[in-house]
């Protein structure tokens, strides 16, 4: 029987299926961080258990860490305790930790792929919704709650109901100045933040094939923003090339065997999806959000919807409330609107390629005096690469601040916050009320669009800055 990519991986990981109930799904890799793991460690200890398969768990500290002076003790007491507890728990349970100061430390969804931990055909979970990122390698990867973290600690398994399957085909070529972040913001604007709830979404089509691995990660990363259980892309030569030679990639002896398995990971020609849609890449323009969920996006030269013309009452109320929070007006354009902050970072867009994109726009130029620009590399390795390529000199000359690796102002958990009422063009994934700090107003966009705003201090169309 023909199978989808998702089904091929799923079926290989089912330990048992309950009648009229969930399946027991075996988990290959479990990534953990300081915020969603302490209660889970406590939970198994209260039951007198040890972590069942510690060698399949990898830990880092990212959500709650400062991005300045990481060599010094963390100032915020609660943050320090949380990170300290992670260190103690990992030691007690023999789990590898890439903590602060380690050359592999970084945002969990950046380091998994860059270390070669993330591989095709795997099941990967983490107590973080953006775990969907790892699906870019053709794996089933999804975010879980802390009770589920505890389940994986105890048994290396989870109880999961099989989601419905959706395929989104993106066909054709992208215009200049349009990148994968624009694709995913465009899709979410089309299908809304709940449009893929209950589905595993496979991204396919010629435009996806043309994307690099890093660009694919951006797409899968934000599949949770349309409610999807996970997003995934069939692996191909680019995937194999990316993995080869990385720290935890299969060894040379194992490589051919693995490659043979990986090459079977695609949706069979006649495999059935519960839902399928096609999007033309050529129709996509640089995207930006105006509201307080990632589905409220428009092209950068478009207009905010006129609220009076929105028929659905719930949707109208939502947008009215969002515009009130954002201090924006129905029907207006965002082009030319001043912003006070630009944040380039997060598990969505903090990889070396993202920073190269930014550098390509700002090289030899200086930021606007009215805007603060913060670049937070996704990992220590990305930061080192930035230096090796001399991008740091470009950013410094442009007047940008370069910080150390962490989640930073994406979620406003450490001290990197946007002040109330101020606007931030952000390459992150969520523009929820207060996400980047109480009262902060977030406009989600691509690294290119963020770079253009850094130079002008206003919302700008990056196509005017590139040849």
């Amino acid at each position: 029987m023909p199978k989808t990519l998702f089904e091929k991986i799923w079926d290989k990981h089912v330990v048992k299926t309950m009648e009229d109930g969930p399946s027991v799904l075996y988990i290959d890799k479990h990534l953990i961080h300081e915020v969603t793991s302490p209660q889970a460690f406590k939970g198994i200890e209260n039951r007198g258990l040890k972590v069942f398969r510690p060698q399949q768990v990898v830990a880092t500290a990212d959500h709650n860490v400062p991005t300045l002076n990481q060599h010094l003790p963390i100032k915020d007491e609660l943050s320090r305790l949380q990170v300290q507890q992670l260190t103690e728990n990992c030691k007690k349970h023999d789990i590898v930790l890439y903590g602060l100061g380690h050359p592999f430390q970084g945002i969990v969804h950046v380091i998994g792929p860059e270390l070669g931990i993330t591989q095709p055909g795997m099941t990967i979970v983490c107590g973080d919704s953006h775990t969907s990122t790892h699906g870019a390698f053709g794996s089933i990867a999804f975010g879980i709650g802390t009770s589920e973290v505890e389940m994986v600690f105890a048994s290396q398994c989870l109880l999961q109901s099989k989601p419905k399957l959706m395929r989104i085909n993106i066909e054709g070529t992208l215009d200049k100045g349009i990148v994968s972040k624009d694709i995913i913001l465009y899709i979410i604007a089309q299908i809304t933040t709940g449009g893929a709830t209950g589905y595993a979404v496979e991204f396919a089509g010629s435009a996806i094939r043309d994307l690099s691995m890093e660009a694919r990660m951006t797409i899968c990363n934000m599949s949770i923003e349309m409610g999807a259980r996970c997003g995934l892309i069939a692996p191909d030569e680019k995937t194999f090339e990316y993995i080869k030679g990385r720290q935890f990639a299969p060894s040379l002896q194992q490589w051919d065997k693995k490659l043979g398995e990986w090459k079977e990971l695609y949706s069979d020609e006649s495999a059935a999806f519960d839902k399928e849609l096609t999007i033309l890449a050529g129709a996509i323009e640089p995207m930006i959000t105006y509201g307080t969920n990632p589905g409220l996006g428009i092209s950068v030269n478009g207009h905010i919807p006129v609220t009076d013309t929105i028929m659905d009452e719930g949707e109208r109320r939502n947008i009215v409330k969002a515009l009130e929070y954002m201090g924006l007006k129905s029907g207006n354009s965002l082009l030319g609107m001043p912003v006070q902050h630009v944040f380039i970072g997060s598990c969505t867009n903090s990889r070396i390629e993202d920073l190269r994109l930014v550098a390509s726009v700002v090289k030899g130029k200086r930021k606007s005096d009215h805007v603060e620009v913060m670049i937070v590399p996704g990992s220590q390795q990305v930061a080192a690469q930035v230096k090796a390529e001399g991008l740091d000199r470009i950013f410094e000359a442009a007047g940008f601040t370069i910080r150390q690796a962490g989640c930073s102002a994406c979620l406003g958990m450490n001290e990197d916050k946007i002040p109330a009422g101020e606007y931030c063009i952000s390459t992150s994934n969520r523009n929820f009320e207060g996400r980047q700090g109480a009262g902060a107003r977030t406009l989600l966009a691509s690294p290119l669009t963020a770079a253009a705003a850094a130079l002008t201090g206003v919302v700008s169309d990056v196509r005017e800055f590139i040849q």
Partner: protein
């Protein structure tokens, strides 16, 4: 986990759609390392002006003494966003045992079920009828028969829940008990993959 069967209570209406987990509990309150005490930060930024507990926002429903109860009734796509289980913990710690909505985000739904909070999915029209009821109205959620009733009008709707999760909630079992009972099967599965 506390077993749960029938809940009869007044409810707190929060008709907004797409209530995300950053609203339910902002990230700055995720620094605790225990599961308790999150209720005081539930909907923190909607409840207080300038993050100051001495200045509650008078128009926010949790600050209106006319509304209380063990049931929260919210607009569609409740709990979208982050996987933070702290959202479910804060709802439970505040005193809710049931959340009613016409649509739930996936991860939140799992997190709620794993903490003995029942996510009750009703039709859009039934949700509207509930939201039109006076503040004294009570709802009855009967998990055994998978029904929700508006007591003063006797209007009733059935809701879906997997039979496995229903058994867990009725008895206060959690998934770990079950997974641990499968040790032998899991070891055999690992063996067979090598």
């Amino acid at each position: 986990m506390q077993p749960i069967d029938i809940i009869k209570s007044t409810f707190v209406p929060l008709p907004m759609e797409n209530i995300d987990t950053d609203q339910i509990i902002p990230a700055r309150f995720l620094k605790a390392t225990t599961r308790e005490g999150f209720g005081k930060n539930l909907f923190r930024d909607w409840r207080y002006e300038n993050d100051d507990e001495s200045t509650p926002r008078p128009h926010f429903i949790l600050n209106n003494p006319a509304y209380e109860g063990q049931i929260l009734v919210a607009g569609k796509n409740f709990g979208c966003g982050s996987s933070r289980e702290h959202a479910a913990w804060s709802i439970l710690d505040y005193g809710f045992r049931v959340v009613v909505s016409s649509f739930f985000a996936d991860i939140f739904k799992n997190n709620a079920l794993n903490n003995g909070v029942i996510p009750v999915t009703v039709s859009e029209s039934f949700l509207h009828i509930i939201l039109e009821q006076p503040e004294t109205a009570t709802l009855t959620i009967n998990l055994g028969e998978q029904s929700i009733t508006i007591d003063n009008t006797t209007q009733k709707e059935n809701f879906e829940i997997s039979s496995y999760k229903k058994t867990c909630l009725l008895n206060g079992y959690d998934d770990i008990d079950y997974l641990l009972s499968l040790k032998k099967e899991i070891l055999e599965f690992e063996e067979a993959r090598l």
